[in-house]
């Protein structure tokens, strides 16, 4: 087996199979997600409604509500996943996850504040406040982590305290939000239920652009993880790279949160899942995490919809259920046992 896996052709073949399998899975989940719901539709009906152009009830149902929801799940899943992979590579911490360092909750708080002040604000303002909240929370966590010493475990602890604080502030503001507060409450657990095309068309180009930027920067991410000397010998400044990547991570998270609310633990799950499948190499991990993030988010949402067909269970609930054990396992990793 060892000899086999050293053979470059074998590796290529293995990756090839993984990707084909993933795309197939994503396609099936996509169709399944479109057919799921109070009105049961078969796969062939779903496919037909894309091919036909006549205005039937089924077609409108699929295009206007289910397609938006499905695309949003994929997009949010991918964005969170990319943010998670980047953050773990930047911090070299197997427990790091934007939602554990306050970024996700910070974006959520920004959104809640803007909704409390201007209930019907335009989308750019809404998005801007999410980004601002995320950046502020990340900055606070970063400075606190510097002052308590950045060991992997302590960074997460500091992040958790910030998270608790942001959560409390969010809850306190929600008390004054009589209008649409139910929607927000669902949204605060993280849910892809409230998908609408208007938001999607506005935010998706931003997210896609950020993901593409991340892919083009894989080499720089690797350079950053090699350390200062190598980076400066290549004429790159580590400080600038670090700031740039953190900014991209916060943007990815904030834009995702503005779509689906703060979904905790998700990036952590995807990162460990993709490490498990394709190994630690960043050049493989990042592209694969885009796919696996979409698959996992769509799968979670479909699962919740399939099990609880009569009510809307936020996907964030299921993800927290899976994510907490993963956090515990990642805190027990060999790398941390010696220098916790």
């Amino acid at each position: 087996m060892q000899a086999l896996s050293n053979n470059p052709n074998f590796k290529l073949k293995k990756n090839y199979i993984i990707y084909i399998f993933s795309f197939l899975l994503l396609f099936i989940l996509f169709l399944y997600s479109l057919s799921l719901g109070p009105v049961e539709l078969s796969f062939d009906k779903v496919l037909l409604s894309f091919l036909q152009s006549d205005d039937t009830f089924e077609r409108r149902l699929i295009i206007e509500t289910r397609l938006a929801r499905t695309l949003m799940a994929c997009l949010v899943g991918s964005s969170f996943a990319v943010a998670g992979v980047m953050l773990q590579s930047v911090t070299k911490n197997p427990m790091a996850c934007p939602s554990l360092l306050g970024v996700t909750q910070g974006a959520g708080l920004g959104i809640v504040i803007v909704l409390a002040l201007f209930p019907f604000c335009p989308l750019p303002v809404y998005l801007g406040c999410a980004v601002l909240g995320g950046i502020l929370a990340a900055a606070v966590t970063y400075f606190i982590a510097i002052s308590v010493g950045i060991s992997p475990l302590r960074l997460i602890l500091a992040g958790q305290a910030i998270n608790a604080l942001l959560y409390a502030l969010t809850q306190a503001i929600l008390i004054f939000l009589p209008t649409r507060s139910g929607v927000i409450l669902i949204n605060l657990n993280g849910s892809v239920a409230g998908a609408n095309w208007q938001q999607l068309t506005y935010v998706s180009p931003i997210l896609l652009l950020l993901i593409i930027i991340a892919i083009f920067n894989i080499k720089n991410l690797q350079v950053l993880s090699f350390g200062k000397e190598i980076a400066s010998s290549l004429g790159l400044s580590t400080e600038f790279l670090l700031a740039f990547f953190l900014f991209i991570i916060v943007l990815l998270c904030a834009a995702s949160v503005s779509l689906a609310g703060p979904i905790l633990f998700f990036p952590l799950i995807v990162v460990h899942f993709s490490k498990f499948i394709v190994g630690e190499n960043l050049a493989k991990q990042l592209p694969f995490s885009i796919l696996s993030g979409a698959i996992l988010m769509l799968f979670s949402d479909c699962l919740m919809r399939a099990i609880f067909s009569n009510q809307e269970i936020p996907v964030g609930f299921f993800i927290a259920l899976v994510g907490a054990p993963i956090l515990i396992l990642s805190s027990r990793m060999k790398r941390l046992l010696n220098n916790g």
Partner: protein, 332 residues
């Protein structure tokens, strides 16, 4: 001897402060009353219009529940911090509180019963489960890594909290009130709930003060404790059980109040030193004061809206948690 006098004075000051705070609590709110009005209501001298109901049926139970639950969380935190030798250990941080909440919610949801003793049994059961899950998950070669213990506790807490939210979503009635139960609130306090927890609470608080010698010995290293013929493991188990019972009953009274069990023991250690003779009393009073204060602030900041006490206590407590992390050199 002199030190004892200082500590006694501090305790007395704390106690007087707690009494004054309680009195203020009874006076001030959306409708405020004068000092004499409250006094007349409490002593049942004259029937003041409106004050009777608001003071004695709404605010007084809240004061009693707040005091008892705050004291119990604080004592539970003191015991856990001593046994686990970790100044950041506390029932809410180790996932005990959210596990209690889950079991209380589950059983009130599955077996609809009015608040009675059953509820306490479920809560204690839940607390035990939460604690043991946390301890088992953070064991590493039969030793507990202190920093990992806290992270695992937080993760276990998040897990049970997600389950709680799920249970709440399944129930249609009193949804909003159940949500506030998750973050800890005194809003639902009534004479009914006072009756439910006052006897076990007073009994447990009373019992805890008798263990100060054992706690002092447990603070030593294990070899010295064993060398004077002290059964370390036996007492550890007893004290952990006591701590879990305290926390569970407090949760059934007020929901999961965050950070009270973390801050109060630490402040008590600063004020009264690490000997548990005074420290336990101090922790108890500080916990009660913090809880009442949180609820008081939550009630008067934006009337008529109420911010749950648990939210206020997190906003006060989280910065302190960070400060604690910064100052504890032991966790490198």
């Amino acid at each position: 001897m002199d030190k004892a006098i200082y500590k006694n004075t501090r305790l007395l000051i704390l106690f007087i402060f707690l009494l004054l705070l309680s009195y203020f609590y009874l006076m001030i709110g959306v409708t405020s009353f004068s000092i004499s009005d409250v006094w007349n209501v409490l002593t049942k001298k004259i029937d003041v219009a409106g004050a009777d109901f608001i003071v004695s049926d709404v605010r007084l139970p809240r004061v009693i529940i707040g005091t008892l639950c705050g004291a119990m969380f604080a004592l539970s935190g003191s015991l856990l911090q001593c046994v686990l030798r970790n100044p950041m250990a506390a029932p809410d941080i180790l996932g005990v509180n959210s596990a209690c909440s889950l079991f209380i919610l589950l059983f009130t949801f599955l077996i609809p019963n009015d608040f009675d003793l059953n509820n306490l049994i479920y809560a204690v059961f839940g607390g035990f489960i939460g604690f043991f899950v946390t301890i088992l998950a953070s064991l590493d070669n039969k030793k507990i890594n202190q920093t990992r213990l806290i992270i695992v506790g937080v993760a276990v807490g998040a897990l049970f909290k997600a389950c709680c939210q799920f249970v709440i979503m399944q129930s249609d009635e009193r949804q909003s009130s159940l949500v506030s139960f998750l973050t800890g609130t005194l809003y639902h306090s009534s004479w009914n709930s006072v009756q439910q927890i006052i006897y076990p609470a007073c009994f447990l608080i009373f019992i805890t003060f008798f263990f100060y010698r054992q706690l002092d010995i447990l603070q030593l290293n294990e070899e010295s404790a064993a060398s004077i013929g002290f059964k370390v493991t036996k007492w550890k188990v007893i004290i952990i059980l006591l701590a879990l019972m305290l926390a569970s009953i407090a949760v059934s009274g007020s929901g999961s109040l965050g950070f009270i069990g973390l801050i109060a023991p630490n402040l008590a250690r600063i004020l009264f030193g690490s000997s548990h003779k005074f420290n336990l009393f101090g922790s108890c009073f500080i916990g009660a004061t913090l809880t009442l204060f949180s609820d008081f602030i939550g009630r008067i900041v934006f009337p008529p809206f109420e911010i749950p006490a648990g939210i206020v206590s997190i906003i006060i407590g989280a910065p302190y948690f960070l400060y604690l992390m910064k100052n504890i050199g032991r966790y490198k």
